[in-house]
Symmetry: C2
Subunit: 241 residues, 2 copies
Amino acid sequence: MCKGGIRLNQPKNNKHIEKHFTATDLIRDIVIGMSDGLTVPFALAAGLSGSVTGTNIVVIAGLAEIAAGSIAMGLGGYLAARTEQEHYENELARERREIIELPEYEKEEVADVLREWGLQEDIIEPAVKQISSDPNRWISFMMKHELGLEEPEPKRARNSSITIGLSYIVGGFIPLFPYMIIHRDVSALLVSVAATLTALFVFGYVKGKFTGSKPLKSAVQTTLVGGMAAATAFTVAKIIS
Amino acid sequence: MCKGGIRLNQPKNNKHIEKHFTATDLIRDIVIGMSDGLTVPFALAAGLSGSVTGTNIVVIAGLAEIAAGSIAMGLGGYLAARTEQEHYENELARERREIIELPEYEKEEVADVLREWGLQEDIIEPAVKQISSDPNRWISFMMKHELGLEEPEPKRARNSSITIGLSYIVGGFIPLFPYMIIHRDVSALLVSVAATLTALFVFGYVKGKFTGSKPLKSAVQTTLVGGMAAATAFTVAKIIS
């Protein structure tokens, strides 16, 4: 599934640009969940429809996949966000100890970071003094620039996982619905393929708008991945059945 | 599937700590792909096995899912990495133009970043001068601290996607294999559940080691997500069949 890919596709957590929950975040999560939900249930249904008789098994397998996928994505994402939060808090506590126990060493680390950005020695000493004059600012400087850790937003991550998981379910029904109402295998497959490729294109387009990539390109890529996945699943199922 | 979650779980791209391909990266990708590959094919197979007669359909559906999932994950991840790379290059070109066309404005943006870290006005002016004396360093400072963009590593991202996609296939065979060799439904299900939960625990443990979270906790979480997904898929398939 494209989840791995989609995460890569999201803009990095940029504190300057967006800090709070926004309607945009919500819409983006919905679009990500739905376009993911379209892909694998679609491919599975298309794959199975070439190898089993009757649309009943396609529907059962499809719904089982949607259930499994949405749980794994929603719950998996939620637990991962919690783990990330704990990891951040542990590191924060360690930095807090270190600036008390090893202040000189920690100051030298701030200096190293500044040196890397091209600051000259004449400025580094006063700059380190200014940064380290406020313990909270000092710690957050170390977290960000020494450890490369951004402060996680636990509520946002949790809500995001739940939204993506639920949207996966909604998205998954698009490829499956034709098999539920049309009971002739080939017709159901054709309607499902047409509906899903259209939906993948539309969602890919909207996803591109919300993730900062070119909408048309995102539309073509999303459709391509879904189509390739379905074609491969169809071929594999045909060969072994 | 847990892909969304897993990405969250990975340590942030930390240039100070690791810059090059390492054996660790490879192992981590393999473990991530395999533990993901275990989850949904497992849940799908378990779900179907309660509702269809014969292990044949379970195997066909499982292999179709593995094919679809690995394509979506590998190809999806690869295309997303390419998009991210292009996005970075576009922004880089824009910053390169801006430091020539609007140097004063861009210097003021560097000053804003430094102010946020707690530097005082007496240092900010010379610090901005030093950072902006080297155009490349200036641009990379803006990319990182104004836009929050890290330089992507396209080769690493591509290899990572391919490794994860292939490992997904290998992982997916663990829950499916019992259905291939045992043709009594209930026995196959029990062996698959036992083998997969064990594998989820082991891979979750190793994944924790490679992603910076507590190994035992990661093991329990990975097993829990897989088990919940399978139980839900089983229940859904039972209800509708």
